[in-house]
Chain length 147, copies 2
Amino acid sequence: MEIRHAEPADHARVAGVIDDWWGGRRMRDMLPRLFFTHFRDTSFVADDGAGLAGFLCGFLSQTYPDQAYVHFVGVAPERRKSGLASELYERFFEAARSARRTSVHCVTSPGNTGSLAFHRRIGFEIEAEVEGYDGSGESRVLLRRTL
Amino acid sequence: MEIRHAEPADHARVAGVIDDWWGGRRMRDMLPRLFFTHFRDTSFVADDGAGLAGFLCGFLSQTYPDQAYVHFVGVAPERRKSGLASELYERFFEAARSARRTSVHCVTSPGNTGSLAFHRRIGFEIEAEVEGYDGSGESRVLLRRTL
């Protein structure tokens, strides 16, 4: 398994599998190529012999100079429970620390108990649950981890 | 008409109109709330007495310290041809110059002749047309403007 910084060409590889990895939901539009071009130092791709194993897209907040934000993390269905998502987060934490960030933030759905349990395990705490967070009427859980 | 920096609460206002402003296309997923939270200093909202008149979401590239990128610009249908999109871009150019960026980049569709003509008028040049740019098999025109 090799984890490296994302490159623009990785976008097409991720875009080709992301809807499947999310069980058929249409996710692709939420992850435009710009993340693989302009946020390479805080985005990562994991490859193994079989191809793309996982990815993480994040960035350093421009508004809050002490914060970093994770937009998307995905692991191939056959690679889940392997610790890969934690490793991707560790790489992101290192990159954020190097940029003098003191907290990492992300957002998930209140019904996604797997995601909530995972984030707690790697040190995230729930900051708030916000109704209508994304403008669609759905609520979202805001998570925060101190670095 | 007031143009000011974007705030997180603007996301719901933009999300509520964006599909209509794009003629019914589903655009909302491409503009998550994070742009209104973490890229406020390079994102702008225009309000007039009637409500939301336009917006621009952009950011400073992390990968390329001399570049800034515009992700989305929208103007209410009844406000088009008023110069508002140019004003929004001018605000972005100022913000990018303040952050010592020397070029601004964006992407549009080759068939969107209105968008291409507009960007040329405000100083953009075509850098390249790239097939399959966004992973969907569609091509995109990459635009660049020197600051």
